[in-house]
Every structure is written in C-alpha cells, then in structure tokens.
Homo-oligomer: 464 residues x 4
C-alpha cells in the first residue's frame, strides 16, 4: 500500500524503496501518530468529512492498534514505507477502506511527521528532566552526607585553593539546573501544533486549529504553513541542549576519573560501575565514566549532522529532512542512559576525606589567603602577591610545608604578618573567610545546599 501513485507509470525500484523507507526508525513515532490521527478524525468530523459514527470507528480501531503494538513488538516488522503508511494500512484492515481512505483528507505527511515528532519530544523531555533531577538528587545526597569535607579546588589542574566537597558538587548542580532550563525552553519550542498547515500552503479544509491544539494538549498553533513544513529548529534546540548536558557530564566524568585514580585517590568508585581487564588482573577501570565522556562526541556529532542537513535547503519540505530522526532519537537515548548512569556512579562513590584533606593542605593552596591577609593589613595586593610568591618559592626550595612555618619566618618576608596569619596555613582554615554568596565558606555552602534542595523539590520552570 502506498499513499500516492496515480501519476506514475512505473513503481519505485526495490532498491530505492529500501534506501528511502523509514519504518525501522520512525516506528518509534507510532503512538504519537495514533494520538494525532485520532484528534484529526475528530477535527474532520467538526468540518463534516466524518460522521460521529465514523469518527468513533476510526478512534476505536486506532486504539486497538495501539494496544496490539504495545503487546507485540513484532507489530513493527512490516514492509510499509513509513509509520504513517503503516497506521493507515492497519486502519483499513480493521475499520474498512471507507474510513481509512478518508482519514488523510486535508492532511499531509509533512505536517503529520512534524506533529508526531513534537508529541514524542515533549514526552522525552519530561523523562530527561526526571533523570536530571535524579542525578541532582544523588549529588545533593553526597554533599549533605559530608558537609565538612575539604578538597583542593583546581585551576589549570593545579591545586589552587581549598574548597568544600559540597561546594564542588553544587557546581554540577548549577550546570544541571541550566540544562533543565534549556530543555524546558526546547519543550516550549516543540509545543506548537502544526496540523492544518497542509503540505505547505495550509489545509483546504476550514479546520479549527486552536481547538485541535487544545484537543492534543498543545500550548499554541504554528503561525505560517510554509514555515511549519520547513522548521526543524525545535530539534536542533534539543540536540544543542543534549550536547550542553553532555559537555557538563563529560567534565564530571573527567573529574571523577582523575579523582578515583591511584594518583589522586580522592574517590573510590563502586564495584558496580567499574570493569576489569581481560589481560591485567589488577585493573578496576572507570568504564562507566569513560563511556559518558565518550558519548559527548556522538551527540555533538548529531547536532552537526542535522545542522549540516538543514544548511542551504530551499523552502519548504525536502526529503533531506528525514535525516532528522535517527540523531534525535539516539541523542535522547544516550542522554537518558548517561544521566541514569551518572546517578548510579554518584550514588555508589565513596569519598576519601583524608586524602582530599591532605591534598588540600599541600601545594601551598593557602597562598591566596596569605596574600589577602596582607592586603587587608595595609599592603597593596600587588606587593602582597609578590611577597607570598617569594614565600612559596622559599618553602619549595627548603622543603618547608606551610604548616611548618613560624611567625618569625613569615615576618622575615613582611612585618605585616601577625599570629592570626598562622592558622591560615593549616587545615584549610582560609575556607572560612569565603562566606559571601556563591563562596565556599561553610555557612555560604550550607545555605546553598538548603536552597538547592528546595529548588529540586519544585517542578521545573517550564510547563513540561
């Protein structure tokens, strides 16, 4: 069965049918297509194409189709060109050719596939949001469990200043919060109902599009039929949002691969999320994190792919755009998988506070505290920075760690040092000086944790 053909003398070559068919991937839109088709039947009834009885039969048959498809995966092993053709053919077999032949009145596959993708994407974004919330919850739990643990904060992968482990974890909470907002906006972009646009010029039937949008749970209707047939912005936005989320996950993965290495020793990953080697018996490899990091490339590739597809296409629909589906489906799968995987890694990781603390004390990461101390005691910051730089150089040359310095030794470099400078040189005491909002001071972090927990409880900013 084909939805076209009268104009052709010969049918398509089998090779071409194989090359162009999409059922093996767009079957995923089946339930969205059913939902859209049922609503379209109701819309056709409102303009007199269907009787109430016919609408009822169509609707019941489509519902029974959906049930069968839910039960029976082999349902999708069919020879149809695409999911829309599958649905119409099955409908004809169940409810008769009469109604099936009428269902496509005033509707084109161009708008139908746009509708289906939008319905599907809205559902997918809801699921992604829930997965993001689970990961954020796992990070918060780690933070709440160890509110006083200190580790070195890094810049340039060099120990910079001590920070609270909870503060570190909250940095990722912020990134994921932005990701959720990006997906919420993408949801809004998807939440425009295209039916009634026809193939490109608007339907020839006086469809009540606003009513149809309400019926299908959409917030608005698309505004221009040519644009509706051409637009894939909402999918590009999704791929971009997924890429950003993966960039954040890739940084978490990199950090934790480092932190769980023999050299850092800050974190023990759970046996549940690590692998061994077929050759080297001692290995315990952070494969879960490596895969998360690696999949970042894949999803960025999908974004590039779809953007390149769209570049330079004339209006309105072109078949190139069929290439939108597989990357979007895969990006959604990969992201959900990676968020869940990251949540399990976070839930099963064990921090090693002693190793963190020791590292935080090392590397002269108290130097900024000393410089700021001098600056607050009348030394210009530039001079203070220079002075402490020389102290560090001396300490390294003489092998004298910060906690071993005496006041006299300090004062040899600057008379502005007093006894209250010494605590800054041990046990990451300087952390307590950073209590401004967003800082790593214990009170600031406690407040941030409390607020994060509250934000997480609330529904996402978007309607999704």
């Amino acid at each position: 069965m084909k939805l076209w053909g009268g104009r052709f003398e010969k049918g398509p070559a089998e090779q071409f049918e194989r090359f162009s068919r999409s059922l093996h991937f767009d079957g995923r839109l089946f339930f969205a297509d059913i939902e859209g088709s049922r609503a379209w039947a109701r819309a056709l009834e409102r303009v007199g194409i269907f009787t109430g009885d016919e609408t009822g039969r169509v609707s019941a048959a489509l519902e029974s189709l959906a049930e069968e498809a839910r039960r029976e995966p082999a349902f999708f092993d069919a020879a149809d060109e695409d999911v829309h053709t599958l649905v119409i053919r099955q409908l004809a077999e169940r409810a008769g050719t009469g109604v099936a032949d009428k269902l496509h009145t005033g509707r084109s596959r161009n708008e139908q596939v746009s509708l289906d993708m939008r319905i599907w994407l809205k559902g997918e974004i809801r699921a992604i949001d829930e997965a993001a919330v689970r990961l954020m919850g796992a990070l918060l739990q780690q933070a709440e469990r160890a509110p006083e643990v200190v580790l070195p904060g890094y810049t340039h992968l060099r120990r910079a200043q001590p920070v609270l482990w909870a503060h570190y974890l909250l940095a990722y909470f912020e990134m994921l919060t932005r990701d959720r907002a990006r997906f919420a906006r993408c949801y809004e972009a998807a939440d425009q109902m295209p039916l009634g646009s026809g193939a490109l010029a608007g339907s020839g039937l006086p469809i009540d599009r606003e009513a149809l949008a309400r019926d299908l749970g959409f917030a608005a209707i698309t505004r221009n039929s040519l644009d509706a047939a051409s637009d894939r912005d909402f999918l590009l936005e999704f791929l971009f949002a997924a890429s950003c989320a993966f960039l954040h996950l890739s940084r978490l993965a990199e950090d934790w691969i480092l932190y769980s290495s023999e050299e850092f020793g800050f974190l023990e990953l759970g046996d549940e999320v690590t692998s061994g080697s077929s050759l080297m018996p001692q290995k315990k490899n952070p494969d879960s994190l490596e895969l998360i990091r690696g999949k970042t490339g894949r999803v960025l590739g999908h974004l590039v792919g779809l953007a390149t597809v769209m570049k330079g296409l004339p209006l309105s629909y072109n078949r190139d755009m069929q290439e939108d589906k597989e990357p979007v489906f895969d990006a959604a799968d990969q992201l959900r998988g990676a968020l869940d995987m990251a949540a399990l890694v976070a839930a099963t990781a064990t921090p090693r506070p002693e190793a963190m603390k020791q590292a935080a004390a090392g590397g002269w990461s108290c130097a900024t505290d000393l410089a700021e101390y001098l600056a607050l005691h009348g030394v210009s910051f530039r001079q203070a920075h220079e002075t402490v730089g020389r102290i560090v150089r001396a300490g390294l040359a003489e092998g004298r760690a910060p906690e071993e310095w005496t006041l006299e030794q300090l004062r040899a470099f600057s008379p502005a040092f007093e006894t209250d400078a010494l605590p800054l040189m041990r046990d990451a005491q300087g952390i307590r000086r950073r209590e401004l909002p967003g800082g790593t001071g214990p009170n600031a972090v406690a407040a941030a944790l409390h607020e994060a927990r509250e934000r997480l409880g609330k529904v996402s900013g978007a309607r999704c």
Copy 2:
C-alpha cells in the same frame, strides 16, 4: 609588567609569550573591562580597601583611558599579555602604582574575563536584535508592497501549490522571530554577574555581590564560585543561536539565488548587491547571497570548536578556555554583517510577478485543490488523490495544461466534478480556499501581515 611572578626563577620564553598572549583579540573587551574595574573600585571602597578619594582617582583615570582608546586605535598596539594587564599598567601610569596595585585585591582574571565577556555580549545581542529587526522590516515591506502576488510554493524543489509572495516572506519572518527569542534567552544567560567568585573559591573579601550586580546593571549574581570560573554555557548558547540564524539566512539565500536565476526568473537582484566576472562579461552574480550562505559553515564551525574545547575539561578554569573569544567575536561580526547584507538584498530586490504567476499556474500545482474538491464532494480522499493523479498523467502525456481542460474532460475521470471545479484550474484560484490561521489565503495573510507589523513594533521579549 606582569600580574604574577614572585614564585618563578625564570621568566616565560618569548615564544611562549607570543603563543599565549591575547591582547590582539581580547582588546575588544577593553571598554567592558573599564566598566567592570570602575565598579570593582567602588566595591573595594565599600569594604574599606579604597578610600573615597582613591576610588575617585581610579575612576577618573579609567575614564580618561577609555576616552583615549576611543580616539586612538593605536592605543591597543601594546605588548601587554592581555587586556586586563593593559588596563592595570595604564592605570598605574596615570593614577600611580599605589592605587593600581590595590585594584586587583580579592579579584582574579578568571572572574574578570567572565564579567567582560558578559558585558560585551549583552551589548552585542542588542545590536544583533536591531539588525534582525531591520531585516524583518525589509521583508515586511516587500510583502506589503505586493500583497496579491502569487508564486509556486515548493516541496522537494518541485512546484507544489501556489502561495502568496507575502505568505512566503512571512515564513522567514517567523524564523527570525524565533532567532530573536533565542538571542533574548542567551541574553538572560549572560546577565549573571560573576564578580566575587574569586579565582574559583569565592573572594576573601566580604563583597556585597548583589550591590555590585545592581551597580553593573546585571539581573542576578552567579550562584557558585567554581561554576562561575568554569562556565561557558552562555557563549555556547550564543554560538548556537548564531548558527540557527545563519541556517535560516542560508535558506533565504538559497531560495533567492534560485529565484534570481535565469531559469526561475522570479526576482531581480539589485546591481548594488551583485558582482560581475573578470572573465565573463555577461555575468551578474548573486555574491552577496552566496557569501551569506557560505558563512553559515564558518559559524557552525565556531560552535563545534568551542564545544570541543570544553569537552572533558576538569573543573574549574583551564587556559583552553581562552579559545572561547575569537570564535564568539567572529560569529557576532559575521552575523551582524550578514543580517545587514540580507536587509540590503531584500530592500533592493524586485519581484517579477508575471514570471511567478506563470510558474504558479504551471506544474499542475492545482492538483491538490482538485483532490480536495472531490473529497469535499463525497469522494474519499484516497480515491480523489488517485483520480487526480491520473488526470495529471493524462494532461502531461497529451500536453494539455490545466487551464485548457473542459468540464467534460474532467468528468470523464470523475462525475463528482461540477463547473465550480474549473476556476481552481486557473490563476491559482485555489489559494482562496486556504483561509485558516497560518494558511496562504489572502485574508489569512493580511491578518498575519498586520500582526507581524505589530509584533515588530514591540520590543523584544527579553530584557535586552
């Protein structure tokens, strides 16, 4: 002059300095850096580092610097490492080492460069928004000037159904509307004030960050110091928004290159925006549009570039991130140039209504009207589609154009045709049947035009 050094025995190699210096591109942040530094001086005064008098001297000196830089482009031909060092050095020369040495108290270049980029980007987005509005205005003018002109709408680059030229232009208006919204959201992402984050751990001074945000005209403060040092999401969003805008422009370019070709003949481009050939005397080439289309690749490349830079970086700041600037600066320049160029092309293009109309009548683009006619007269759509397919095949085989058909000839294919079917076959009359919202019917388009004009008058949705 360097902002660091006490800890080192040897200075950097000249080759390294050349490789790592950024003044030749980050000089562009100069005015933002001045603005941020003046506000920082006021913040330092509030915590007692500066006296009121010192703040005044710093502020005046910075202001005079800015004036000189505005007057004298050679101002930026300096040997400093980066724009921040340039400002401090110049400040020292004007206001004395005393205050210059204090200005950097409690502040790091990590947060400073984030602030500068945010200030700069907010300004740039405002300018882009204005350029987009100008292009949208030019498209609306074309539409309003010729509200009844008809051309063929295309799918698969085959004549599909006639549409109004104004309707076609409004499709691009919609795309640009989405672009503006994307930039507005990017503006919000940039509108978070990072100062007070220190290098990564939060400043050691009790800076009132909310006051500083108000002082600098920011909507909010960043929430986590580690994240503030690491985050480049707002730049990725900008590059993505620019890529999307370019994808839309590339499609307009493609369409208009086609429409102005000898083969289509729908549009005459202005001599002002076309070029000749050094070899072929007859050529009038649409270079302006080709360049717009070509620059799409460049900006997408910038997005890929920055995303790849960020992939897998550990927290927090890494010097790799210096590579964020050139692509963002270039994307902004290219986009502003392309929007302005497109506006000039739109303003100077002359439609050829006769050629458009003739093409709209050709290619049996009335076929859908005929099929829908049958569907509205009791024939199932599937049968109607099949019947009209055969009519088209016969017409092509016999060389009989739609307007040459008689009612008898039509009725030989289906008795459901009546005399009111014939007008659908000439002069794109079917267009009048598509009056639902978003359709190409004359009333629907008039309403859409009116609404577009109103929307354009309003300020953008965002605070920008």
Copy 3:
C-alpha cells in the same frame, strides 16, 4: 561469563552492564574476530602454548561457529558483554574449557578490537571501491551515449559558458577518482597488524609478529604497542574519506535536483527513483537525490563525533574509544547505499538535450567567446571585456538575443569584429575553441572520455 573478575568483591550492576555492553553493534566484527582468533591460536602453537592438536580443535570449533552464525541471525541475540566474550564462550561450549581458557594467553581485547576493526574495514573499503566504480561506470555511460549534447556550465548558479554534457559528467568522474584514492590510502592505514601489542606494553610471549601479519594478510605490523592500543587514525581517515565522497555526492544531488526541476527541465529522473506525495497528486519528487544529499550531514557528524571523542584522551586505551564503532559502521552503510542509489539514478536519468541547448544559448553565455575573440584580434582583454559587457547590457535592454545580432550591430561596439565572430553567438559554437587538455572542446572531451574508460578498467591504485 566474563573475561575478568577475580579482583572484585561485587559484580557490575545490571544497569552498568546494559550501558556498557557492545554486542548489539560489535557483533558485526564476529567474522573478523574468528579469523583473528584462528591465527592467534596458530601463533600460540608456535610459542608452545597450544599443541598442534589443540590448535586444530580450536580452529575447527571457530569455523563451525562462523558457519552457524552465517546460517542463523539469532546467533547474535546473546547476553555477552561484547563479541570477544561471545566467541570465547561459544568456543568453550564446543571445544571445551581447556582450550578456550588458553586462547586469550598473551592477548588483550585492546589489540583484538583494533585487529577486528582493521580486518573489517579492509573488506568494507573493497566494497566501497566497487560501488564507486559502478557509479563512475554509470556516469561514463551517460556521457558516451550523448557525446555532443551541450548544456550551460554554471558559476554562481548563473549561466556562464556552454559545456558538453559529457564534460560535465567527467567532472564528477574526477571527484570520485580522488575519493577512490583517499579510500586506498585509508586501506593502507588499516593494513597494519596490531596483535602482539598486548594491552599496551607488548605481549609477554615471544610472538613472531611478522609471521602473524603474513598469516592474516597484513602488509606490515604496528610499530609501538602503546600507540597500537591508542590509535584510531585509520578510522578517522575513513570517516573523512566518506565525508568527502558524500560532499561530492551532495553536489551531484543538488545539480540533478535543479536540472530535473520544472524550471530547468534538463533531466527527467526515472519513475524508479522518485516519489509522489500523499496530499498533492501531481508531485514527482527527487527523494533519492535529497536523501543522498541529506546523509552528507549525518556522516560529517560522525567524523566530528569521533574526533571529539579522541580529543584530549590520555594514553593509551580508554573506554571512550568504544564509541568509534557505531559511527564507522553507519558511515560505511550509508556510503555504500548512497553510491548504489546514485548509480541507479544515473542509469535511469534521461537528458533533455533540447532544453539544455536552448538554455546554453540563452543568458549570453557566449560573452566570453566574444571577449576572447576581441583579445585575439588585438584588443586588450580588459577593453574587450568592457566592450562585450556593454553589448550584453544593450542586448538585455533591447531584448535582442545573441543569435539575432548582425555584424554591423557588433561593429558599432568594436571595429575588430569580423564575420567569423557571428558563429560564436549561436549554437554554442565557442565550445570548439576550448580544446586544450581539461577543456570542454569536443576532441578534448573525447580524449578524456577514452582515458576515463581506461582508468576505470584498471584496479584501484592501492593494494585494496
């Protein structure tokens, strides 16, 4: 069954196993893995790990495995972690645990997967080369069938100068020739045997690597074990070669979509490779070409994806690199499909010589001939160009086509024109003036066609 585990207290979580398993895609390497494993057994025999009898049993069991897998697709519906584990488990079931437990001696999955990918890729490149040759043959046939047909050559999508249809087709022949050379070099890159590299440090057994390479049909051995475990250059090269080939196909697709449009009318595509519309009965859409063009983005995306995966990975193997397979497999499938599709499109397309000729005569594409005529008659080229430019302007203004001009009218612009200038203005006569190698003159093209046919007959430049 797992190939590791003694060091772990807990097994992997089911969620992690799902996230990390690869059998559903690396099953594709099964036959390569069998081939490699049989050769490895022989190598183990040479160093005394296996007896001759054991090698025989292993080899026979592996062969029977391969036979079953060929017969029974469900063979791959297994729960194993990856294809290597599947093979070992099946081997144990058939040949006993004794030999299966020994087969992995001195070998790691890191080198094994590299070997398998190399064997697989070499076969795939051979198949791609054959598909490219088929397409080139179809293009040559089109050219040979119509050696005198003329169409306008375009620059900037404006008619530039007439060229022979055969010359036009040979341009694509050249592009595909370069593609073949690129794949041949990629074959050489793949043709390095990695076994013996161990996991990263070299095998602990004194394997004769050169003998193993000969046994497996490889040209050379890899030179450094750490590099062998880390290197994915050969896959990046493949993705790049595939991207280039797709860029060429995308240009052919664009050209032919244009040429077969109602506006150009140069080419009629076969019904076999075109589609209709579910809504618009008259449509005959070039979907095959649009899909080819669209898939360009997908494959470029894969290249970006893998490059991003590799960026910044420390030596040597990291699990991120598992993400190399799916993009490479898909790129190979898409390219083979697209080459075959393009060959069918080329074989079934019918040129419309009259329309081509008429267009070639239009658009003043003879202007360059006129200018060069003047230049050969003593006028400086710059003046000649200017003069002909004014002739074109006058012709367009007065609506006088080139073939309507008289000698007097020409001479009013330049006295250097003689009667032999007039033929240049009709029937693309100027084409005969371009007989230098690479030019579009009939003799030059005939020679090029002949040479192309000869080149196509020969084997590809590479060993593949």
Copy 4:
C-alpha cells in the same frame, strides 16, 4: 579599479563591497599570485598575446612589486576588492595599462585563486613538516637522554603495566610520523596545476598547460576544467590532516598536564612555558599545554566549517567558496605555533624518574606478568588471571605491596609459582619480558629508538 563592470548600470553598494572584499585575508596569497602571474605572462607570450618585450616588462614590474611588499607591510593597506585586483592595479601603475589590460587574457580569477592557494599550501606544508620534525627531534632527545627510566603505562587512566619512558615517547613519534605522511599526501593533492581551466570551461587560448605546470614546479595538471573550478578537496584534506595532528598534540598535552600535576609528579615543566596567577601566588600553570589542547577544537571547527560550506553547492564555482581561506590560513598558523610550542615544552621538561618508578611499582601493575608467568607454567590463562586477581584483592585488603610478598604466600594461591616469580614483583622487572618488535623491552626500545633517529634523518616520504 574593478576587473568587471560593463554590464552593470549601478555599481555595488559600499556595504556590499565591505561585506565581500577579501584583501584583508587573501593578501596572504600575494607572492603566490605574483609567481603565477609571471608564469602566465610567459604562457601568453607562447601563444602570441604578449611580445617578449612585454613579458619582460610585466615580469620586472611584478618582481619589483614583490620587493616592495616584502619591505613595506603597509603595502597591503589598499582598497582593492581582492589580491588579484591589487596586483593588476599595481602592475598598471608600474608597467602601464597596456600590458596590465592584457595580462588577464584567457584567465579567470576562479583558476587563479586555486593556483595561488595551491602554491601557498605547498610552501606551508613544507614548513609544517619541518616543525613536526623539530618536535619529533625533541621527543627523541628526551628518550635518548633517559633510556632506562620506567613509568606506569596507563589504560583507562589506571596504572596498567610498567613501560619505558622512551617507549612512551616513541608512541608520539609514531603519531607524528603518520601526520607527516598525511601532509605529504595533501601536498600531492595540492600539486596539480589548474591554470588553463578558464572560469569553468577551459581557456579559449591554446595554452600549453603541461609547460606551464613545469614552469611553476607542479607535478601535474588538473584534468577537468569544471572540476578545477569547483574542487576544494585539497583544502579539506589539509584541514583534516591538521585536525589529526592536533588530536595527537591534545593527547600529549593531556598526558603532560597530568604528569606535571602535584598528584602525578612525573614531570617538571620549564618556567619558560608556564604561567602564574594574578590572584594565587603559588601557581605554576601549564598554560602552553592547555592552549595546545584547546586549539584542537578551533581547527576541528574549521574543518567542519569548510565541509559545511561545500555541502550541496552546485557546480562549479560559487562565491561561498571564498570562505575557504580564513580557516585554512588560521589552521596553518595554529598548527605551526602549536608544533613549535610543543617542541619547546618537550625540550624544557625534566622527568622525575624516582616518582615515575615508584608509581610504576605501585598499583599492582606487575599483575599481568604474574598471570603470564602462570600461563607459561602450565596454568590456563583464564585460571591464571583469576588467581592473580585474587592475589591482588588480598594484597589490597591486607595492605601488602607486591614487593613484600614471599614465595610461600604466592604458593598459597598457586603451586605453579617458583622463586623466579618474585623478581617480577619488584622494580618493574617484567618489562624485560616484552622484547618483541613494538614492545617495551629495553632491547626492543633501543632498536626502535635507533630506527626512529634514522627515519627522522631522511626526507619526508612525499615530494615535499
């Protein structure tokens, strides 16, 4: 001055000229353009357009232009549209309008820019090859200086097996060897002479293209004029080769950033190539390596950019292709800079053999040696792997390092252990067992070092 115009009524808008001009970047092709123009003058003389005297005047004037440009950078601050126009205008000013107006006979800017890029690129590839050789030399020197130093080889960033520092360095030598080969092939792709192709159809003059190729030092001529005008494969190949080289450099950068961190401590970077912090006085940051790693994204972005530009362009030349230059120029600059930077980093880095050795002994990286020991003593590898896995687990649980184990303790796990197993557990003795080609055994590495030094001495494989 313009090289076209007769056909136009109005000149180009100033805004369009600004948007489309390229002199600010294609000025870089000036010397190539001079070289090509001089050869073109000689070719024109051979076909009788120029007299010998005219050729001499043109040639002398072009030579004097080149000299002035070399002396005076402001030479390029001109208002010309592009470099070709600049050359012709300057030529007219020096040698008179007469010859300048004739020089462009039978030549188009389409082929000219292709020629210029090819000449420029060949020179650039030579320079890149030299820079690669310098870096390889610096790596070899490090290796030769410390042939016995051992460090842990890593997989999954976990200590895997000990390897020689020289072996590790040679892995990068292999990658750079492949990079050189890629550039050599890119050189061959560039080494095709396009002049005589005209704008697209072949020149109208009977130019001896082979002679011209010899005159300009090209290996061959391009084979099809349409292809010559359209082809940018050689630039895509260059961007791909540069991206691959950067991927390798990014891995070196990542490794050395890790190795020079406080946690690893394997390497001390020179003060010459590290930076401090404006806030944190103790910092010594590996900025040189971070910038190298970061620039990888930029260059990959350029590849994506140009590929996207080319996608879907109809034949032959389109102005979009002007966007080929800036990415290629920038990629060349960045790569040369990065190779030189990496060479300086390599030359100034100091390994810390004690720390490397200690780490190599840690992490049970001898486990594979033990397993292979058992396998060579009659235990199946699978059992051996399992047994050693349990030994590792016991060792970690009891805190007993490998070198602390007694034979009795080992034999409690397997009676196959003899006294000769104990040395494998200390001082990375197992390394001596890996002497097969490509392995990390001292003799194998000494041979590889020797061979590398020889290979480096030879000229690159390509003609470049």
